[in-house]
């Protein structure tokens, strides 16, 4: 398969960067997330980014339209994200699967979220196979192959000191071709490295079906006790897609409507105008999060909404682990 030496990574990135904005996982003042590529940026591919790549297609805050109000007349003016092409480099299988989940939500079922669609269609995703499982990773338990993911435009394989590359889609081919033109590619028949044992393993088979009858199960009475209801897990999770629409005033007459991340963990998330809140306390909120990940999303879109990236496990202030929840559901006794 075509490959390029790891030593030449910087050059590969430079050539890709010339095509359009290139996003790479980098460490900038101790924060590991996807940044636009710059020559002096410290690219970090050893382990998955701390903050997921979802913010590239679904940013934490974005302006959706301007509005003006002069007395009784007013107007609306759309603000669309720029359409320039971009390359998302170094996306692992768990994040690639997460992007597919987001596609289901934002691009199907009667409506298309224009903002997500514009960014998503302009992007070429270059996936990266994992050779070593992270401390909190469990993608294999969620039915994913850490080495590769068929949903990506181009796939990199870890061949030890080479990266093998394969184009899958037409956009992916263009990337491979660009690297070939730059003379960076050579043929390599080295073995693709496969990560050995995962530290975290869990059997997620049939969990969605079992949860159908577990809405009132006593498991939920204990689970919320240590949770502090912060938004960390939802904001780090690559598949959480909830958002809020609010507005900011520029002055007395005009302002801008803003779409920003929201979390089912916050109190006023489900609060209705009259003050009634169907999920008043922590128990309902924690149940909603895991039910959505492991039952509601599979019911609606046919795939788990958890891809085993382990970010929520790594950063949860109280170590409330979704793998532990899956185990508890598996062992739970359900009558009838």
């Amino acid at each position: 398969m075509k490959a390029f030496p790891k030593a030449k990574l910087q050059e590969v990135l430079k050539t890709l960067a010339s095509k359009g904005t290139l996003y790479v996982p980098a460490l900038v003042d101790e924060t590991h997330r996807y940044y636009p590529y710059r020559a002096d940026i410290q690219v970090s591919l050893e382990q998955n980014s701390a903050i997921s790549p979802k913010e590239i297609f679904f940013p934490s805050t974005e302006k959706i339209y301007n509005f003006t109000a002069y007395g009784i007349d007013g107007d609306y003016e759309e603000i669309l994200p720029d359409r320039t092409a971009c390359v998302l480099f170094g996306v692992r299988s768990c994040d690639m699967q997460a992007i597919l989940c987001m596609d289901d939500v934002f691009l199907t079922r009667g409506y298309i979220d224009e903002y997500y669609a514009t960014r998503r269609e302009g992007a070429t995703i270059v996936a990266l196979g994992c050779s070593k499982a992270g401390a909190d990773c469990f993608c294999s338990s969620m039915g994913l192959n850490p080495v590769e993911h068929e949903g990506a435009d181009a796939q990199l394989y870890d061949l030890g000191d080479y990266y093998g590359i394969q184009g899958r889609t037409e956009k992916g081919e263009k990337v491979v071709e660009a690297l070939a033109v730059a003379g960076l590619l050579s043929e390599s028949s080295a073995e693709v490295l496969v990560p050995e044992e995962f530290v975290l393993q869990v059997d997620s088979e049939g969990i969605a079906e079992k949860l159908q009858a577990m809405f009132e199960h006593s498991l939920w009475d204990q689970l919320w006790r240590k949770c502090i209801n912060c938004g960390t897990c939802t904001y780090l999770c690559p598949t959480c897609h909830c958002f809020d629409i609010s507005e900011k005033k520029k002055n007395q007459h005009c302002g801008v409507k803003i779409k920003c991340w929201d979390s089912c963990m916050f109190n006023e998330y489900a609060m209705m105008a009259g003050g009634h809140n169907p999920r008043p306390s922590k128990k309902e909120k924690v149940r909603q999060r895991f039910m959505h990940k492991l039952r509601y999303f599979p019911e609606r879109y046919g795939k788990y909404q958890c891809t085993g990236c382990g970010r929520c496990i790594a950063k949860c202030p109280v170590n409330l682990e979704i793998t532990d929840v899956i185990n508890q559901v598996r062992e739970a006794k359900v009558n009838g």
């Binding site: 959706i64 339209y65 509005f67 003006t68 109000a69 009784i72 007349d73 007013g74 107007d75 609306y76 759309e78 669309l80 939500v105 934002f106 691009l107 199907t108 079922r109 009667g110 409506y111 298309i112 979220d113 224009e114 903002y115 669609a117 809405f215 009132e216 897609h241 909830c242 958002f243 809020d244 629409i245 507005e247 005033k249 007459h253 302002g255 779409k259 929201d262 089912c264 998330y269 489900a270 609060m271 209705m272 105008a273 009259g274 009634h276 169907p278 999920r279 309902e284 909603q288 039910m291 959505h292 039952r295 509601y296 999303f297 019911e299 609606r300």
Partner: protein
């Protein structure tokens, strides 16, 4: 399927192919042409879009569908919308900051409107059957869309019966329809009750569930459409069950917090259904299958 003439059916099985690409989150610029003061805290707003000089309906809505109304600089919220030839009618009760401001605007005010949202009432399935409408307070607004559909297609339906209750005579909405147009319709019984009467109120006094028990509507071959405050629905469903109505024949609308209206923002989910997309209209049977979290 061009989204403009979205009807419940094709919405349910919409696929990605030929969806006309417009940004669903941007409201259309429209004007409030007329405001009718139904009761001290309910007003009906006539909303039309200006298209090359004339005022036309922004979009058509099927009975039971919703529209997202936004007031520039204040906010936006989901209301049930009644279809009309050249305008949309939205009846709005004063409950929060947005509705307070809406109740202070004057005709000619520019607003934003987008929609239609929701699956609406399954009028086709209930063709040929008797229809029992039950509404409480502002719940009459969504029910009225179904009533008007039945009145416009009177022959497609058997007997019609409306049971409507509100807090006091002053709180009765659409009084013109209640006491003039609908009673005049063929085989359409209109029963109105109020929680607290006043000296010149002749009609029945009492809560809707109790009133329903007195009326004892006949359940066979009858579909019931019910909307109103959660407590009224809870008790009325119990009575309907006692009267022999089957879960499939009872249809109601659910109210949840809705932000995007297009099934993306995740706010209005009950179980795996998004109320703004797969609802708000559900049969009692469907609701029994959903997690009890609404």
């Amino acid at each position: 399927m061009v989204k403009d003439n979205a009807t419940p059916e094709n919405l349910a099985k919409a696929t990605t192919e030929e969806i006309k690409r417009i940004n669903p989150l941007i409201p259309m610029k429209a004007k409030v042409t007329k405001i009718i003061e139904e009761t001290p805290d309910v007003k009906t707003f006539y909303i039309s879009k200006e298209e090359n000089g004339q005022m036309v309906v922004p979009f058509h809505t099927a009975p039971g569908q919703l529209a997202m109304l936004s007031l520039p600089g204040v906010g936006e919220a989901m209301f049930s919308a009644t279809d009309a030839p050249d305008h949309l009618q939205l009846s709005i009760k004063k409950v929060g900051t947005l509705t307070d401001e809406l109740h202070e605007i004057v005709p000619g005010q520019t607003v934003g409107i987008r929609g239609p949202y929701g699956n609406g009432f399954p009028m086709d399935q209930i063709k040929g059957k008797n229809v029992l409408f039950i509404a409480g307070g502002i719940g009459l607004a969504p029910v009225r869309t179904a009533v008007r559909y039945c009145v416009d297609h009177r022959d497609d339906f058997a007997k019609l019966h409306l049971v409507y209750g509100s807090r006091s005579p002053a709180d009765l909405v659409f009084q013109y329809d209640l006491f003039e147009t609908w009673p005049a319709v063929r085989d359409f019984q209109v029963s109105v009750t109020v929680d607290r009467g006043d000296d010149n109120w002749k009609g029945n006094v009492g809560f809707v569930p109790a009133f329903l028990e007195e009326l004892k509507p006949n359940p066979d071959n009858t579909v019931c459409i019910i909307c109103g405050p959660p407590i009224m629905i809870k008790f009325t469903l119990g009575i309907l069950d006692k009267l022999g109505f089957t879960a499939e024949n009872v249809i109601t609308t659910l109210e949840m917090r809705m932000k995007c209206g297009i099934g993306k923002c995740g706010r209005c989910n009950i179980g795996s259904c998004y109320i703004c997309l797969d609802g708000p209209v559900f049969t009692l049977a469907e609701m029994k299958k959903m997690p009890n979290e609404y």
